[in-house]
Symmetry: C2
Subunit: 468 residues, 2 copies
């Protein structure tokens, strides 16, 4: 498993910067060990590399000032949202200053007529949706965790709703970014479309803090649908469930969510969330639309599901029942952990063309069984994206090595199917070797961009393009 490499530290620069920032920020610069470790160690299996200090700026101006001070002394700057990333994104392999944006959590303005909102990066997904509810609006991207919108932007997050509403790349209109030299740049205006030069918005979305620090985000919103219904049904096999998903996508049913839980995941969810779902591969769905539209979608899906041998299909428009189902889905990670108490979960994140989904999921299950790995699967299958959660005893080197080999095998398989090693978690430290396998010379292009925009390599060093 990834033991992230340490990088050379600029000790004197770091000491100087910590001194200057302490003067400027007072107790909004923290250097205690616990808080530093907490900001390196997230929900990841990657070894923690703590920053030297954690800053809590309250404005774009303060972020810019922090970056300017760090730039002058060539000290790393690592942005931090809520710390739910999975590939070592917030580690500080060369030390430096972690910029925690949790105090930049203001919703700066809702433009209801334009279906847009401007937020600071520390605003969380749930905070935004609570704020919007009274106006009949919502922000659809839902990675499960109550992540910050800054972090979601930086990692190009997606999740359960992406099959209908796209990923962060599709839902960010414009960004304010502090560049490596401390300059503040706005990437686009608030118009819905533009051909005004290079798409810096999309370049920053998914750049994981390596090209700039996001200080303001303009997002697209959606009207809360007139009607929402959800449904669940069990399939005789994972293959049958995936075949049904493929048919749904090819038929063009605009499902809002279509999620797979394999038999083992269902078992975990039943135990954890006190449900009695049949222990068989399950699809969970949600339909958004008009009264009639939702019924139409749901009926069509019912026909497809039946064709692939599904049983127990039922749709519901009860909010309570729906919330219960989706809460169970969101808790699948915690439920999986209970399948093997004491284990850590290592999540894979491959995404393949939908035509290869059934084959890829089946091969993954077979390989895990062959290797004797406990690895329940959940997936945003409408996008061809699924996660195998490897439950590993990190104290057993053999097991860790086996998991590591499994991750490599699966990434290679996905890449060979014209898929990617990461549908939504990002590269961080953990996926760097696979990025190279996946895109080859394109990584050199990324590296040239990184060098041009951050010549001293102070912005979240050791991530994405850092592997040689």
């Amino acid at each position: 498993m990834v033991q992230a490499t340490d990088m050379p530290r600029n000790e004197s620069g770091i000491a100087t910067v910590v001194g200057i920032l302490r003067q400027q920020l007072g107790d909004r610069l923290q250097t205690g060990e616990a808080i530093r470790n907490q900001h390196g160690h997230t929900t990841t299996y990657i070894h923690t590399q703590a920053p030297d200090a954690v800053a809590f700026p309250r404005s774009t101006g303060e972020v810019a000032e922090i970056v300017r001070v760090c730039a002058e002394h060539k000290v790393p700057v690592i942005p931090f949202g809520t710390g739910t990333s999975l590939e070592g994104h917030v580690n500080a392999p060369a030390g430096g200053i972690c910029v925690d944006v949790s105090e930049m959590n203001e919703i700066l303005g809702v433009q209801a007529e334009d279906l847009t909102v401007v937020v600071q990066p520390g605003v969380t997904r749930e905070q935004l949706n609570t704020h919007l509810r009274d106006q009949g609006l919502f922000f659809p991207i839902d990675p499960g965790a109550n992540a910050s919108l800054g972090g979601m932007t930086a990692t190009r997050a997606s999740g359960t709703n992406a099959v209908r509403y796209g990923t962060m790349k599709d839902n960010v209109l414009s960004l304010e970014v502090v560049m490596a030299n401390g300059e503040i740049v706005r990437t686009a205006q608030r118009a819905k479309k533009t051909s005004a030069g290079y798409d810096l918005t999309r370049l920053m979305v998914g750049s994981e803090g390596t090209l700039g620090l996001i200080t303001e985000i303009t997002l697209k919103l959606q009207g809360i649908p007139e009607k929402i219904s959800s449904a669940a049904c069990s399939f005789p096999s994972v293959d049958a469930a995936c075949q049904a998903v493929m048919a749904v996508i090819q038929y063009g049913i605009p499902v809002a969510r279509i999620e797979l839980l394999d038999e083992m995941s269902v078992r975990g969810v039943n135990a954890y969330s006190k449900l009695t779902l049949p222990e068989a591969p399950l699809l969970l769905l949600e339909f958004h639309g008009s009264e009639y539209g939702v019924t139409e979608q749901s009926d069509l899906f019912g026909q497809i599901a039946e064709e692939f041998g599904a049983t127990g299909y039922q749709a519901t428009t009860s909010t309570e029942e729906r919330n219960k189902l989706w809460q169970a889905r969101h808790d699948a990670y915690w439920a999986a952990l209970q399948l093997r108490p004491g284990a850590k979960a290592i999540s894979t994140d491959v995404c393949v063309p939908i035509s290869r989904l059934a084959e890829c999921v089946a091969a993954t299950q077979a390989k895990a069984e062959e290797e004797g790995l406990v690895a329940p699967i959940v997936g945003h299958v409408g996008d061809g994206n699924f996660h195998s959660l490897l439950l590993i005893d990190m104290e057993q080197p053999d097991e860790v090595a086996k998991a590591d080999a499994f991750v490599g095998w699966l990434n290679d398989l996905a890449i060979s199917m014209d898929g990617t090693c990461t549908g939504e978690h990002g590269i961080g430290q953990g996926k760097m070797p696979y990025l190279k396998k996946e895109l080859g010379p394109a990584v050199d292009v990324m590296r040239a961009i990184k060098a041009a925009l951050d010549p001293d390599n102070i912005l979240n060093p050791g991530k994405i393009v850092a592997a040689s």
Copy 2:
């Protein structure tokens, strides 16, 4: 009006490269004056700057070889699709080699199950849709002209369907690109979503040939809707029509097209296409969906239209009637030219947040009248994007100056409304001064990227970021 600046020419390099390429390509390297002029002069009002030669490669390998030869001798390379761009994109201000991709026009593969297709850059939009029809699929982006998909990608084109299906940025999955050093890069795999590093796909979409030459494009496709209906209705004023559009968007009706023609445009269209539409501001719509869904959308729109004083609203599912209406819309440019025989049309391209649309269109009409300019308006109003077509006698310097001032005034107005000077035409040469006004320091970031990826400035020089 823009008299594009000439740039210093590398005469000896150009002569050498023309010699080498002639040997390699034979009569697929053309140097006749007519063909050279045709490749600089497109549907633009900007002064022609012809390249020194036009190459017609047939493969990615040939494109890479052309770029390598040009790179070695520091000679400009200008990609060319069908030449329908409007802002001097294909001009050769420093001379050099135009790479016309019209012989790279193969559809390399349709992956119907994945709703994707892989094409060479010279494939045109109509060619692709003709090829797809039998499979029940279509590619939705429709800028009007039968442009090449390479050109559409390079300029981040959109058009009438973008309100529902997005722009090229939303419909390109992956690209193969020849970089400035001749290296061939693939920007992404064919999976529907990815978090694998920087979004080079989106960086290349809209880069107008200044960062690389697109040699292969993987596009998303859509299933042909079960039902299509279209509709037209007249409004008492442009303001009322725009208010109706705003209501449609805010209500979330998933219209496939919603186009505005102002009174003057309708007059032109009636004359040119032999129609008898009422001479009043007109909205043209198209609805895609199921039998019931289309009726539901159309009825809802009817109610909104009535609320804003519309008359004569009628929807039709007749393919013949629909094609007639949309043909008229697509011919609006040619129809406008007939309003003032001998004049040239200068198209503006602002796009504003939808809440500002009515105000922006009304101000544009008032200003044109005040200045005595003949300037019919058509617009992709669901996106807040509209074109004022200034009909100008280019022999009258006063009139040209007045048009120039008008374009500047309108771009400033849109920018002041948090909009853009270009919704879909791109920057090219013509919009460079406005890009700077619009995005300020972001242009320096773009320039740094350009310098990093094309240090000798050989890829379509003098465009987007070339202004100091």
